[in-house]
């Protein structure tokens, strides 16, 4: 952290967690309470109206009166003064214990987590042993040996609390250590101490502070109990726990007496807990922003008012959806918005029976949101408009039950990450059995037979063995096959496969694509393949829809898309592929990156990155229009501007090997 540029840093970002904490009223209240209480206690000598030990037998057990706002005890001592002075011993004790636990725990936790191996073993096992020691026995012994010294007891309590903080720190360190930026620090030759204090510690403060605050609350509770037993405090010296004990002795004569001390203790404990809670939320909120973007967007804020009318290219006629009447799936003018932000605009798609459509584009272009909108699985924050008709039924209009009917039996979905989609607690057989039971209502033997049949269909040898396996025992390719079997269980007419080969090795990807091809031929089902890989589209799709920044920019037969791409984005996407490029020559890259939805213009979304942009491109929304190829449409105003408009993709026919 000694980089000279440090001073330039914007405090705003650096203290993101602190700012998130400041937005939590309960946390701020808790922190304020602890700070004010501590301040009053420190200034007890100035604030207290009486000597805490001064007895006044003329006003015993008075209750709140003007001379004694919190009343007096059985010896006529002022409760407020005793509370203020008693807090000194109490809060100092908590501070001592927590400081010991924090300092030793954090250091040991960092060492254990960072060093690993035998060092970690030694520290962790020792921590386990310390945790097994009955604290109260040790404390009683220490108070006995040190003739009731208030400090040794609390220091011992702190030592006994070290394992808790140590474990939390160790776990957080292990997580931070696996981050690539820690590898980077080692690659640049950074020393261990600087890695730990410059990179690990700043990233793990959150959980440490949360647990320290909880520890403070616990310690205060334990200490209150000890003081109640007159351990660690010698009457007539005041302490909060001791005052509760005194109040209890006169509970029947003056019930009020328990209120000031008991409430102070309870409120302070609560304040520590509130701080911990707020801190945990703040850490999570600050962390969420720096994490990678979620594949599926979840709208955090409530959905604002959204015009249900399709915006953007308002000129679009119900349009270029030919043969829509006979189509299996027809999507018309589909728009999706989250919190007023439109992320999918005016999507028109059709899928015929037995046809395979590829939806292709880079991340952030709305491919998955489109699929989720078709499935009706977007959640309540999404505003969906337009028309999704499946076998002539408009899915956007029907209720949840009718939707659920369509899902699985009509339309099935396979997601990208098979390991997330499978529940680790259940075997492959029980996953499939449940779905088979729902669709076919079969019992035991017949159900097993169907499960076996499904697993055979997806090319898994020894289906009965596979059925007994649990998700963690499957390889990525096998797990993806199981998911496909799950999707096939309802004999769907349309299978939506969302980036299902992205996480797989190419050889496994080829096998899965072969499987999909043979399943399509066997069952005659239609498919929508969502992918960012044009090669996958070329391999298996009949038609392709290219999406860019929330819009479909081109649709055509797959062969046409590659041989005569109409839209500049499609051309650029093909040209950027290293397979197409000549070795040793620069790749035809597209400048910039896909803009976030908030920056999408009303006019052509691609204009800012387009090499052939002209002023007319920015003049207004662009509609889909007919392009050169049969059934080819594209969203480009320059579409018919002449043959020279299509240089990039056409120039590079696939090359033959030598």
């Amino acid at each position: 952290m000694s980089s000279p540029v440090v001073a330039d840093a914007q405090a705003k970002e650096r203290f993101r967690t602190a700012r998130a904490f400041a937005r939590n009223p309960l946390g701020v209240a808790g922190l304020a309470f602890v700070l004010i209480t501590s301040g009053c206690v420190v200034l007890a000598a100035q604030l207290a109206p009486y000597d805490p030990k001064a007895q006044d037998y003329s006003t015993v057990l008075s209750g709140p009166i003007s001379a004694h706002p919190l009343g007096t005890d059985q010896l006529g001592r002022d409760i407020l003064s005793r509370l203020l002075f008693g807090g000194r011993l109490t809060l100092l004790g908590v501070f001592e214990a927590v400081a010991v636990a924090f300092l030793i725990g954090v250091v040991l936790g960092l060492i254990a987590g960072f060093a690993g191996g035998q060092v970690d073993n030694l520290i962790s096992r020792t921590a386990d042993i310390v945790m097994a020691i009955p604290a109260i026995v040790i404390l009683l012994m220490i108070y006995a040996i040190t003739s009731n010294n208030p400090h040794y007891g609390m220091l011992a309590l702190g030592l006994l609390s070290v394992p808790g903080i140590c474990r939390v720190t160790r776990t957080a360190t292990l997580a931070a250590k696996s981050e690539t930026f820690i590898d980077v620090t080692r690659v640049i030759g950074m020393g261990r101490a600087r890695i730990i204090f410059g990179h690990v510690l700043p990233n793990i403060w959150g959980p440490i502070i949360v647990n320290t605050s909880i520890l403070a609350a616990l310690t205060l509770g334990i200490q209150g109990g000890l003081n109640y037993l007159n351990l660690g405090v010698t009457p007539p010296d005041p302490s909060w726990g001791g005052m509760v004990s005194e109040a209890q002795q006169s509970l029947q004569l003056q019930p009020w007496l328990i209120v000031p001390s008991g409430l102070t203790l309870a409120l302070t404990i609560m304040a520590f807990i509130l701080i911990a809670d707020a801190m945990r939320d703040a850490t999570a909120a600050a962390g969420a922003r720096s994490e990678r973007p979620a594949r599926r967007r979840k709208a955090a804020q409530p959905a604002g008012p959204v015009s249900e009318r399709t915006a953007g290219p308002a000129v679009t006629a119900p349009g270029p959806v030919d043969g829509a009447a006979s189509a299996l799936l027809a999507v018309r003018s589909l728009s999706v918005a989250f919190g007023g932000q439109r992320v999918v605009q005016d999507v028109n798609l059709t899928v015929d029976t037995g046809e395979t459509l590829g939806i292709v584009g880079e991340s952030g272009c709305g491919k998955t949101v489109t699929a989720s909108a078709i499935l009706g699985s977007l959640g309540r924050t999404a505003r969906v408009s337009g028309d999704v008709s499946f076998l002539g039924q408009n899915l956007l209009g029907v209720g949840r039950k009718a939707r659920a009917q369509v899902r699985g039996k009509g339309i099935a979905y396979v997601s990208q990450d098979p390991m997330v989609a499978l529940d680790p607690c259940f075997s492959v057989g029980s996953h499939l059995g449940e779905v088979v039971g729902r669709h076919d209502g079969l019992r035991a033997g017949a159900r097993r037979a169907r499960v076996s049949e499904l697993l055979t269909m997806v090319g898994l040898p020894n289906p009965d063995d596979v059925a007994k396996k649990f998700p963690h025992e499957l390889s990525g390719g096998m797990a993806q096959r199981v998911l496909i079997a799950l999707a096939l269980a309802g004999r769907p007419k349309l299978l939506i496969a969302d980036e299902i080969t992205t996480a797989l090795d190419v050889t496994i990807q080829a096998e899965i694509l072969d499987l999909l091809r043979s399943l399509r031929d066997e069952t005659g089902m239609a498919m929508i393949l969502i992918t960012h890989d044009l090669g996958v589209v070329a391999d298996i799709c009949d038609r392709a829809a290219v999406m860019y920044a929330g819009q479909v920019v081109e649709t055509a037969a797959a062969a046409t898309v590659f041989l005569a791409p109409a839209h500049p984005y499609t051309q650029a996407l093909i040209a950027a592929n290293p397979i197409v490029a000549e070795r040793g020559r620069p790749l035809a890259s597209i400048p910039g990156s896909v803009p976030p939805p908030a920056q999408w213009p009303a006019s052509c979304h691609f204009a800012d990155r387009c090499l052939r942009v002209e002023p007319v491109c920015r003049s207004g929304p662009v509609a889909m229009s007919q392009a050169a190829g049969p059934g080819q449409t594209a969203r480009c105003v320059l579409l018919n501007a002449g043959a020279e408009a299509f240089p990039v993709g056409l120039e590079r026919p696939a090359k033959e090997g030598p």
Binding site: M1, S2, S3, P4, V5, V6, D8, A9, Q10, E13, R14, E179, T180, F181, D183, V184, R186, V187, I188, G189, M190, R192, H199, P202, N203, R289, S290, E362, G476, D505, V506, T507, Q509, A510, H532, D533, L534, G535, A538, D539, F562, A572, I574, A576, N577, P578, I579, A581, R583, P586, S589, I590, P591, S593, V594, R609, A654, E656, G657, P658
Partner: protein, 342 residues
């Protein structure tokens, strides 16, 4: 791009019989991630290590970068042995070898500004002047196409491609001779991937940097490499000049790896698929191989002898080129009959 077959003067990095194992717990035998890996990287050369997940390609990078303990074998940088170097030695080595990793979202410390992250290599074992650092950082960020306004901003504000550029800036700020790129473009979208590949090529043209490019993407490897090493289950299956290995693969594994890449052209992909299905014969060998060719259970050319003949050694199949296969003659005969279509 000289010294393809290694005239010593131009050799930057030499890896000899490298073996790295991972401990799998007290009661289990260690797992050999890579075994007996030998290769060289010449000055200004891009050597790619390609293979599927679990092939051990990142382990080799990790061993070179000092992130993995080396069980046996040696790594030499400019003739000097850097095997299992300690922290102090590493600090000196860091001047010469840098790295760019795969995940653009975790390779920058979220708590540091872009400027701090990029400046960090300069501050190792030195206290450079503030204005010098600032100038150097600004200039380096400029070389990777990131404006100076990024200096004080945090990684969370940047896209994956931009972060990868920042990582590259951090790796080149001390002008190392070798940059290990561990799946450096794999997490990026195609258009951004092309930008970053071009950037790496430009930097190489400017400063003669060597790259050890670790990737699973045969198309990217084919485009950027001078030489390619094909790895399977921790062993080198084939290695040689990129043009030869990618366009006339000798080893059955390399062939299957290339055949599996889908190309963005319907007609060509159809041809490739047909060729692939014709070539695909189930292997006559089943189960894991303990002693012999690790690829045998997946290999259409395999014979029972492939699994019992002990280690399969790399044998020369052309200038600067070798493959580890007992049935090379037959494979090459088949290869000339059905060349790879890209």
């Amino acid at each position: 791009m000289t010294a393809l077959d290694g005239s010593d003067a131009d050799i930057l990095l030499e890896v000899d019989d490298l073996t790295v194992s991972y401990h799998m717990g007290m009661r289990r035998p260690p797992f050999r991630a890579v075994r007996d890996i030998t290769f060289k990287v010449a000055r200004g050369e891009t050597v790619s290590i390609v293979g599927e997940s679990g092939s051990g390609k990142s382990t080799i990078g990790g061993a070179i970068l000092g992130l993995r303990a080396i069980e046996s074998g040696s790594i030499r940088l400019q003739g000097e042995d850097i095997t299992n170097a300690g922290i102090k030695r590493r600090r000196a080595i860091a001047r010469h070898i840098q790295a760019v990793f795969q995940d653009p979202f975790s390779s920058l410390d979220p708590k540091l500004t872009i400027g701090e992250s990029v400046a960090e290599p300069l501050t190792i074992g030195a206290r450079p002047r503030r204005d010098e650092t600032l100038r150097s950082v600004t200039e380096t960020l400029g070389r990777v196409g990131i404006g100076a306004d990024a200096l004080r901003r945090f990684p969370a504000e940047f896209s994956g491609g931009q972060r990868q550029r920042v990582s590259i800036a951090r790796s080149i700020i001390r002008t190392p001779e070798l940059i290990v790129c561990d799946e450096a473009v794999s997490a990026l979208d195609v258009s951004v991937q092309a930008q970053v590949i071009n950037l790496l090529a430009d930097l190489k043209a400017d400063s003669g940097t060597s790259y050890l490019f670790i990737s699973h993407n045969m198309a990217v490897v084919r485009h950027i490499s001078d030489r390619v090493i094909v790895l399977y289950k921790g062993r080198i299956m084939e290695q040689g000049p990129a043009a030869d290995v990618c366009d006339q693969p000798a080893h059955p594994y390399t062939r299957s790896l290339i055949a599996a890449v889908p190309v963005p052209n319907v007609a060509v992909q159809e041809q490739r698929r047909t060729a692939r299905s014709l070539a695909a014969k189930p292997s006559v060998v089943a189960g894991d191989v303990q002693d012999g060719c690790p690829f045998a259970p997946r290999c259409p050319f395999a014979r029972p002898a492939c699994t019992t003949s002990g280690d399969v050694r790399l044998v020369g199949v052309g200038p600067g080129r070798s493959a580890a296969c007992l049935r090379l003659d037959e494979v090459l005969r088949t290869a000339s009959a059905s060349p790879v279509i890209w």
